[in-house]
């Protein structure tokens, strides 16, 4: 397989000119620089839609078209909030807009008062109901009561209280279906809260239930735990979870994640953490995941480019995707790490089949200068990720095949010296301790 790669790799190096023309067309398609806020927002529903829009707005600061994006995001968030019942968010957004969108998008006191008043009434009603259920000790009704409370708090943005209410239903769950419902609710709130510890916790609980889960729930749970692993920076595990997500997910989990996200998160994490074999078996040959990838052609293309060693075009796709990924509420923290890992992976993979590599062609393939590439290679060699040495004079990288025999001799001698030293020090200390012990004993006598 390596021989094949080499051929493809070489081809890529020499056909860079053609590549560029091709990528130019593609990049205009992907619309790298400006984000389509409306299209983005339409992927989501519920609270995450608002949160994501607000996140986009926060991230877009200065710059002309950035401000346009920001206002667009704020406007949509404002409209979305008006459909809901969260007066806090409303006030926040109004403050952020600060009158830039005209009088229609100001602080609507009448609306928020009405919402608050309705909330008070509803809360009272719910409390009365719950008290009634509790005196009657009907488990199912109590569960429903707490569940309603959870829904109510969630709608009003009191996430901590919502979390508590949902967790409380746990004691009153009688069937595994209830347990799963409880888990999904808790997971949803925890994701909104950013408490990913709870997420993986409750995913585990849900997966342990005795009944076989329906495929949609399975897919939801996979996504949730993938997110949790991503937040914990365990990219390999995250990639596995996203890759295992079934196509049943569809548009059923838009309050947390869109299908496109599964493709992007899973694809990037896989690129950063999988080796070639895994990439082939688990990503490219994965029929389920292919469906997701079809939704985000850029990611699909870049994975294929990576696998077929078209690094220049792969890296270009990555660069084009970057501004949008930075606006993603879950991925933004990890973009840099993932990107450096992917880049390192690419460099390592590039050098792997060769005995010697011409740095000039390699720099061309990675769209960087020879000096910059040398620095990157130096860092990778120092970390022992590439076994090679650089001939800086002729600008050639030579693979270095470690001499096992010599290395073993060296290590053996080194270990011997260390052992010698340690044992001597140990004997000395033992004698000292014996001496002190004797002194103490003689003092006692």
């Amino acid at each position: 397989m390596d021989a094949d790669d080499e051929l493809i790799g070489d081809e890529a190096m020499f056909s860079n000119g053609v590549d560029e023309a091709r990528t130019a067309v593609r990049s205009s398609m992907s619309g790298g620089e400006q984000m389509d806020v409306e299209g983005y927002a339409s992927l989501y529903s519920g609270r995450t839609k608002i949160c994501r829009l607000l996140f986009v707005a926060d991230r877009c600061g200065g710059g002309d078209h950035q401000e346009a994006t920001q206002l667009e995001a704020l406007r949509m968030a404002y409209d979305e909030i008006k459909k809901g019942e969260d007066s806090h968010l409303h006030r926040d957004v109004a403050a952020k807009i600060a009158g830039r969108l005209g009088p229609d998008y100001g602080l609507d006191l009448a609306w928020s008062d009405a919402v608050d008043r309705r909330a008070e009434q509803r809360k009272e009603k719910l409390e009365n109901e719950l008290n009634g259920y509790r005196t009657n000790l009907i488990k199912e009704s109590i569960r429903m009561g707490y569940n309603d409370f959870g829904d109510f708090y969630f709608a009003h943005g009191q996430l901590g209280d919502a979390f508590k209410s949902y967790v409380r239903t746990r004691d009153y769950c009688t069937t595994s279906k209830h347990i799963i419902q409880m888990c999904l609710n808790v997971i949803l709130v925890s994701i909104e809260l950013g408490q990913f510890m709870h997420v993986s916790n409750y995913v585990g609980k849900a997966e342990q239930t005795s009944d076989t889960l329906d495929p949609v729930t399975v897919a939801k749970l996979k996504c949730a735990s993938g997110l949790a692993q991503l937040e914990a920076k365990k990219y390999k595990l995250a990639a596995r979870k996203f890759l295992e997500t079934g196509p049943e997910l569809g548009n059923n989990y838009t309050e947390v994640i869109a299908q496109q996200d599964v493709a992007t998160y899973g694809g990037l994490c896989a690129l950063a953490s999988f080796d070639r074999m895994e990439l082939k078996n688990k990503v490219i040959d994965n029929i389920n995941f292919r469906n997701f990838l079809e939704l985000v052609p850029e990611v699909r293309e870049l994975i294929h480019d990576f696998y077929t060693s078209h690094y220049a075009s792969c890296l270009e796709y990555l660069d084009n995707l970057k501004p949008n990924l930075l606006l993603d509420i879950h991925l933004h923290d990890h973009v840099e790490t993932l990107y450096t890992q992917i880049r390192h992976k690419a460099i390592i993979q590039y050098t792997h089949p060769f005995i010697s590599v011409d740095l000039n062609t390699m720099a061309g393939a990675f769209k960087t200068s020879v000096a910059g590439l040398e620095k990157e290679l130096e860092a990778l060699i120092t970390e022992n990720q590439i076994q090679a040495r650089i001939d800086s004079h002729n600008k050639i990288l030579y693979a270095r095949h470690a001499d096992q025999r010599n290395a073993t001799f060296q290590r053996a001698l080194q270990t011997g010296v260390e052992f010698d030293r340690d044992v001597r020090a140990m004997l000395l200390r033992a004698n000292l301790m014996k001496y002190e012990n004797n002194i103490r004993a003689s003092r006692k006598l």
Partner: protein
Amino acid sequence: MDSMETLLSQIQAFSGSPQDVSHLHSLLKQSEDSLQSQQPSRFVPLLEQLDPSKHSLGYLYFLEAYASGPISREQASGFLLTVVNFINSCAVEQIRLAPDKFLSICKKYKDQVMQLQVPMQGVAPLRTAIRKIQSSSEHLTSLHSDFFLLCILSKCYKSAQSILDEDIFEVDQPRDLFLYGYYGGIINIGLKRFDKAIECLHNVFTSPMTSLNAIAVEAYKKYILVSLIQNGQVPSFPKYTSASAQRGLKTYTQPYIDLATSYATGKFAEIEACIQTNMDKYQSDSNLGLVKQVLSSLYKHNIQRLTQTYLTLSLQDIANTVQLNTPKEAEMHVLRMIQDGEIFATINQKDGMVSFHEDPEQYKTCEMIEHIDSSIQRLMKLSKKLSAIDEQISCDPTYANKVGRERPRYDYDDFDSVPHKFF
């Protein structure tokens, strides 16, 4: 008056067979008080009547009594001569009967040499003295540290080497070990044997101690510096380091720890700034020379790192990466390192390129096999010793007692102690 004369004749009579000598030893012990009460100057004529090689034990007692008093400047040279003569000619089996006396004479001798500021004179006699008094080469006497001190003062590092290279396992006084390790470290630094120096100093601050001492602190300072020069980093405390040392050492050696931290960044500017701010402290600890060596060792470590990554590199690039000013300086550094066998490289002056090579050692020569074999033998001997000591300690009644006591156990005493409070 008479007692001394009789003692003298007894000494002359009983210095033959071992039985006689041990009889004489008890006689001398009995008359120790009367010896101490005499005028020190009285012993000069008495000593002249004894032969140090034959009557070593008696000579030792007289000499010790003589040395216990103050010695005037005029007498000093005579005293030194007598002691040197005695050390060189005394009979080993006789002086070993009274090692304390012998040690105290040697100490007195060392003090005199120091007072007269001629430390070099004392080096050879003390080395002979150590050889004569130590029961085996593994035995650490309290003379070791004195001997090293004289070597350091007279800068005769080489003459200390033979004693220093012997492994020490038996220790009379922990304090001796501290000084032995500290001075030994300094001598090894003087001999540029940094790995040995690290070992010596390491032994000092990892020794079991209940409270921190100044020797350990100074040793740790030097340990940091030498570790940086040799390995480019300072290892953390091994877990057997006593708690008091782990707690205390860092607070007393802050300027040195700062230096190690800035060294780890690999930036010259930071290290130089650190040295500038702590200059006074390094100077007052008289470690400034070592600190300067630390600075220059950074070039070395950086160049060494380059050999791992590059096959060829121009001198200009070397100068840039290791932050030297000119290619010329880089060439000097590389040259010196090739000479010292620290890297394997060739310099091509025509185009200013350096090619780095792999270690040419193939581990095929007879010498290498012999070297490996001798190491194996040595290690086997050491591990045998270790298991012997382990056995010995496990059988030691005091040790067994201690371990038994530490194990939680419901003793009769435990129950008994409670009601006492209510009485």
